[in-house]
């Protein structure tokens, strides 16, 4: 194994850095927290029937959210990526908005909505409310996963189907089986995001497994039991991801380039009004209604609150954007290296274990990751990391490199091996092949991975609040620490500003990168 590693110095450096900076701290802290002073023996007895029934309840809720999100996401994905429905490019952008906003804010908006229009919040402050809010948040994720897979189906397959059977049968017998990997990926990712979500059930006062872990942390300060309980969540996530890995043939999700396949677009003429009604209906539920509430609350007493919110957030912009930008670069780099070697050297045990390490760290709840990093890095000799932004970058790289490697890995696997082989025969070095063939071909996917990593890093709160260096101002933390006691109008204004800043930056990146991607001739929308 040692010889194989020295054959890939870049991979070795990245792999060992990830192990050293992220995996060892987590393993060390979890190990000591669980096994010191016999706490494991004491706490394992507390994992009783109630704990497991609560976990089962959380799984059921997450199951419904994943199912509904994947169902609606597939319909939306089909309409936006496989039909010529009017305004489809605008819809593609607008429907992504819920992904950019903190789930907590949307929960607040929905509760206010129910109170204003129904004068009753009991319906929303329930399991149904949790399912509703989280479904609207995660459906866009399913939409881009399944939509991208649908757009990558070779048109010849569909046309062959039409020669012998109906449109309905083509969808059921050709399209859905072909995008099965994307459907499974969508279900698994949404399930994991939902079962780990804390803020929405906490706000609605619904007891789920994450709120129980929080209680152990914040009311009983029992880190050991909280970590043990989190371990159960981690096991479930790993089992699911393992099943996904075993069952899918590398879902082509979130690939931007068309890679030479023809995407067939269907005409919606017979059902145009019905389709548009559905799109507007979904847009209203997931974006328009919550935003009207936020907007009304922001400006109901004039613009003064909005100005105050802007002044409060102004000092955080440069820090937060710089940090998210650096984190996204690191995350994309780690993701690319992991994905590249996973695709081209998939037989090596070390390379397989890198995939698993990325996955396990991804599944660790935010607070646990934060505590782990504090306990490991808060040593006199490691002050340069603990007292600087390095600790946040390590946390963000640990959390999001898995997603980035998955996005980039799927793009790499769509590149025909013949291109690389032909260049190899010509005697072109591996670095030049990488630089001149692979990277240009997957540039859109790298860009997508960068944007998603940037959005997640800019909004990350759970781990960042545990480790951010004293005296620094970071946007989501500022919003979080102010919103709890501030008037609703100030909170809503801050949310609108955070959202606008995120959208502005992403648009900026898009326009900067667009000519570059277009130069390679395969950028689509």
């Amino acid at each position: 194994m040692g010889r194989k590693l020295t054959n890939h110095p870049l991979y070795t450096i990245v792999f060992l850095s990830f192990v050293l900076f992220v995996v060892i701290p987590v393993a060390y802290t979890l190990g000591t927290a669980l096994f010191t002073d016999g706490s494991f023996g004491t706490n394992i007895q507390l994992l009783n029937l109630d704990t497991f029934s609560l976990l089962a309840k959380s799984c059921i809720i997450a199951f419904f959210i994943a199912l509904l999100s994947t169902f609606f996401g597939t319909i939306l994905g089909f309409m936006l990526y496989k039909t010529n429905i009017k305004f489809r490019n605008i819809f593609k952008i607008l429907l992504l908005i819920p992904l950019f906003i903190s789930p907590y804010i949307l929960a607040v908006a929905w509760k206010d909505f129910f109170f204003i229009f129904f004068n009753d919040t009991n319906l929303i402050s329930s399991y149904i409310g949790v399912i509703l809010v989280l479904t609207t948040i995660f459906t866009p994720l399913s939409m881009i996963i399944t939509g991208s897979a649908l757009s990558n189906i070779d048109a010849q397959l569909e046309e062959s189907g039409f020669m012998i059977t109906s449109f309905r049968m083509v969808i059921l017998k050709i399209m859905l089986p072909l995008i099965k990997p994307a459907l499974i990926t969508s279900f698994v990712l949404v399930f994991i995001f939902s079962i780990s979500e804390f803020s929405v059930p906490a706000f609605f006062g619904v007891k789920l497994f994450t709120t129980e872990i929080f209680t152990q942390f914040s009311a009983f300060y029992n880190h050991s039991l909280a970590i043990l309980q989190s371990g159960l969540l981690i096991v479930i996530c790993i089992l699911l991801l393992f099943t996904e890995k075993q069952n899918i043939a590398d879902a082509p999700f979130l690939s931007i380039g068309s890679k030479g396949t023809d995407n067939k677009l269907y005409n919606t003429k017979n059902r145009n009004i019905l389709s548009l009604l559905f799109m507007f209906g979904w847009l209203s539920i997931s974006v328009v209604f919550p935003f009207i509430i936020l907007f009304v609350q922001s400006f109901k007493n004039g613009a003064s609150r909005f100005i105050q919110a802007f002044e409060l957030l102004l000092p955080t912009f440069a820090n937060s954007i710089g940090l998210a930008f650096s984190a996204a670069l690191i995350i994309v780099f780690i993701g690319f290296i992991a994905a590249y070697y996973s695709a081209y050297q998939s037989g090596t045990k070390t390379i397989k274990s890198f995939d698993w390490l990325l996955l396990i760290v991804f599944a660790i709840p935010s607070t646990i990751l934060g505590i782990s990093l504090i306990k490991f890095y808060n040593q006199p000799g490691l002050d340069i990391i603990y007292s600087s932004y390095a600790i946040i970058l390590i946390a963000l790289a640990g959390k999001f490199s898995f997603i980035s490697s998955k996005l980039i890995g799927n793009a790499i696997r769509q590149i025909p091996n013949s291109l690389d082989e032909a260049a190899q025969i010509e005697g072109i070095s591996s670095f030049t092949r990488l630089r001149k063939i692979l990277i240009p071909l997957i540039l859109p996917a790298l860009f997508a991975a960068f944007i998603i990593s940037f959005i997640f890093s800019l909004g990350e709160l759970g781990t960042t609040i545990m480790v951010y260096p004293p005296g620094t101002e970071i946007m989501p933390i500022k919003v979080f620490t102010i919103m709890a006691n501030a008037p609703q109008s100030l909170t809503s204004s801050m949310t609108l500003i955070v959202f606008s800043v995120t959208l502005l930056i992403i648009s900026g990146f898009y326009f900067l990168m667009k000519p570059l991607i277009k130069n390679y001739g395969f950028a689509n929308d």
Binding site: F214, T215, Y221, I371, N378, A390, K478, T481, A484
Partner: protein
């Protein structure tokens, strides 16, 4: 390409090490509302020339960030001063051996009841637990005057309290246990539950529910109540049990962290926070009641001289809190 890589690496390194300066400074962690605490820390910075590095959290979200961070940092503290919005969290830290002894000269005339007997923490600027009610939903004659009224049939389903596992509500309930005894306190909580009390996520949530009229009244803290009044909410504020057990008073608390890196500066910040001037400003900005004698307060801000306080020992109440937490968890969840 190489140049770009070098530039990016340099940029990342610059950002990574951008805040590792370690000069004349003091590090403070606070769970007191950022919007109110930040101006004081900035003023101290100006007056003393000592750079203040703060980590904020909020008690509305149970101070998970700072408190768990302080516990995790126990063996190599980074923080000098912890400023808490209540005594509960400071006492948790004291019991875990995280605080240090400091008897501030600035707090000499503060009543010893608001100080730790061993000077691990000192109280200043207090809040009280109050009842707020929606004026359109409750007539003047129907307003509850005692906490025990909340268990009466006429308020069935009309009262909200925050989750008693967290924050000032948990301390309020623990105080009731110490004053009434376990049996009476449990009976009261049981009656309250049978009366369909609404359990809100936080005091802020109680305030919002009362303002909106989702419930007729609810228990919260004076700062939340006065903030709502400042925003023009149509609510009234009542100090409960003024003829009987009194209202619970909860001071802010400040403590020095054991083995802190900037102990001298930490003590200077504590002295500043405990000064008469800080209390006067806190009264103005967020309706906190001064504990120093003779501090001038704006009109409308209650004075401790006008309130019958609940007679409790903060340390003993914190001990009681640890004893009843499992009971409270069960009460809140079932």
């Amino acid at each position: 390409m190489k140049n770009i890589c070098l530039k990016i690496t340099f940029l990342i390194l610059l950002i990574m090490t951008g805040c590792s300066d370690n000069t004349n400074e003091v590090v403070v962690y606070t769970s007191f509302v950022e919007i109110f605490s930040e101006p004081f820390l900035k003023d101290f910075e100006k007056e003393s020339g000592i750079a203040v590095k703060a980590v904020y959290d909020t008690e509305e979200t149970k101070s998970t960030g700072v408190l768990n961070r302080l516990i995790a940092e126990k063996d190599n503290p980074q923080c000098d001063v912890f400023w808490s919005g209540d005594p509960v969290r400071t006492i948790v830290l004291k019991n875990k051996g995280i605080t240090s002894v400091y008897q501030s000269p600035a707090a000499n005339d503060i009543d010893p009841v608001f100080k730790d007997p061993e000077y691990h923490w000192t109280g200043f600027s207090a809040r009280a637990r109050v009842l707020i009610y929606n004026k359109t939903l409750l007539e003047q004659t129907d307003i509850p005057r005692s906490i025990f009224d909340l268990a009466k049939k006429q308020y069935k389903g009309k009262v909200a309290i925050a989750n008693p596992l967290f924050g000032t509500t948990t301390f309020h309930i623990a105080a009731l246990f110490t004053v009434l005894g376990d049996e009476k306190a449990k009976q009261f909580l049981s009656d309250l539950k049978n009366n369909d009390v609404v359990i809100a996520t936080s005091n802020g949530d109680v305030k919002k529910r009362v303002i909106k009229g989702e419930v007729a009244c609810g228990l919260t803290d004076t700062d939340d109540a006065f903030e709502a009044l400042k925003e023009g909410a149509d609510i009234g504020v009542v100090f409960l049990d003024q003829q009987e057990i009194g209202s619970l008073i909860m001071p802010n608390t400040v403590c020095l962290i054991k083995n802190s890196p900037h102990t001298v500066n930490g003590k200077k910040l504590i002295d500043y926070l405990l000064s008469i001037e800080t209390e006067a400003e806190l009264a103005k900005s967020c309706a906190q009641m001064p504990l120093h004698k003779g501090v001038k307060t704006p009109a409308g801000i209650p004075s401790l001289d006008d309130i019958i306080p609940m007679k409790i020992d903060y340390d003993k109440t914190s001990q009681k809190l640890e004893e009843i937490q499992n009971y409270l968890k069960e009460w809140a969840e079932n």
